[in-house]
């Protein structure tokens, strides 16, 4: 069997070994949950939003090296971005920022993009509901 770490770029392995922004978040403004145990990858992404800007992001992931690295990278990429900018982040951008992913692992970057989109949707839905209550 080939060395399992040789599948991944240095950047993927670096994020896998030292994932950024791991953990739970108290009262997140938005939560995105994707994947299921059948496919083997589950990601949960939490965001804090202040004045239309994502000020913090955290994740929890059950999955392979690529799933952990893409979760870590996407949290790093969104912090400091406006909602509109964050919606522009594509799975390809996440994969490129990691120095590329093996073809069979590209779906992990798709999960990261979806988790982010769902977290933003959740935030926007909550805000709409709040705005409605305030009127």
């Amino acid at each position: 069997m080939p060395d399992p770490t040789s599948l991944y770029s240095e950047k993927v392995m670096e994020h896998f070994r030292n994932p950024r922004n791991v953990g739970d978040m108290e009262n997140p403004d938005g939560t995105g949950h994707v994947g299921n145990p059948v496919c083997g990858d589950i990601m949960e992404l939490y965001i804090k939003v202040n004045d239309n800007t994502i000020t913090d992001a955290k994740f929890k992931t059950f999955g392979c090296g690529a799933a952990i690295a893409t979760s870590s990278m996407v949290t790093e990429m969104v912090i400091g971005k406006t909602i509109e900018e964050a919606l522009e982040i594509s799975n390809r951008a996440v994969a490129e920022a990691l120095g590329g992913l093996p073809p069979v692992k590209m779906h992990c970057s798709v999960l990261a993009e979806e988790a982010l989109k769902l977290a933003i949707d959740d935030y926007l839905a909550k805000r709409e509901k709040q705005d409605g209550e305030n009127e």
Binding site: P4, T5, F16, P37, M43, F59, G63, C64, I68
Partner: protein
């Protein structure tokens, strides 16, 4: 055996696939009940490569003989590691591979009981009494012979040594890691196989972390296969997808020592608690 069976099905043969119990054992009685007057061949592997379960081949051999049906066993995992006497097992056919007993890669052998008629897969020359055309791989054959000779001398002692290491690893993992389970049979088991499932963590992430610590093992997780499907063996023993994804297989060999086992037992719990800390499957208390 699944792929050769599928190939035969494409050529009009009817194949019955027997279930296994939670340990991966085939019930000899289910073999007996499945035999019909059209049955021409029974094939059951001797030792499972993933979960280490040793099948009751001798019991099935008696059933096959009584029914007058050819019986084949895939003994790739067992030859040179545990006794595989063809008369004790009651098989007509037994296949093995040299590299599993430290012989050269690319050579194997098929034992054929006298009187068992086979048609060749490779046609042409009359090498090997017309059973397999093409020039013999002489260095490979000599290497296989030497590997078997050495295995015969060392087998009893080595099986005992590996079984001790195996059981130490199994017990240590079960005591050191909560929410873990042994896959495969606890007693009827290959001396060199340990397969466990660890809840809430995915296999590849454990394999990568262990590799970084100099420990090589494998997983039945879909994440290491191109099909994105977890191990069919683990699903067949009724593991949930989550547990199949969280499996680890350690294969022990000639050069493993007790220190290696201690190293795994000292390293893995820390890796698991780090991965569990980031797992959304671990529910907050």
């Amino acid at each position: 055996m699944i792929e050769p069976c599928k190939f035969l099905e494409r050529h009009g043969f009817k194949v019955t696939y027997l279930p296994v119990d939670e340990y991966g054992l085939v019930d000899p009685d289910s073999v007996r009940k499945t035999i019909t007057d059209k049955t021409i061949l029974i094939s059951i592997m001797h030792g499972n490569n993933e979960i280490g379960t040793i099948e009751p081949i001798a019991d099935i051999g008696k059933i096959a003989r009584d029914a007058g049906v050819y019986f084949h066993t895939d003994a790739v995992q067992t030859v040179g590691h545990i006794p595989t006497g063809v008369n004790e097992l009651g098989v007509n056919l037994l296949s093995m591979s040299a590299h599993k007993l430290y012989g050269p890669k690319g050579v194997g052998a098929l034992y054929i009981r006298k009187g068992t008629r086979l048609s060749p897969l490779i046609h042409g020359g009359d090498q090997e009494k017309g059973r397999r055309a093409s020039t013999e791989n002489v260095p490979g054959i000599v290497g296989l012979g030497k590997a078997v000779e050495l295995a015969q001398q060392e087998m009893t002692e080595e099986a005992e040594r590996l079984s001790f290491l195996r059981d130490k690893l199994i017990t240590g993992l079960q005591e050191g890691i909560d929410h873990s389970r042994l896959n495969g049979h606890p007693v009827n088991r290959l001396p060199n196989n340990v397969n466990v499932s660890i809840e809430y963590v995915e296999g590849e992430s454990m394999v990568l972390n262990l590799d970084l610590e100099g420990i090589c093992c494998s997983t039945g997780s879909a994440c290491t296969s191109s099909s994105l499907e977890p191990s069919h063996v683990l699903l067949a023993i009724n593991l949930s997808h989550e547990l199949a994804h969280g499996s680890l297989r350690f294969s022990l060999g000639k050069w493993n020592t007790e220190e290696d086992i201690d190293k795994v037992l000292n390293t893995l719990p820390g890796i698991i608690s780090r991965l569990r800390a980031m797992s959304p499957l671990v529910k907050k208390p």
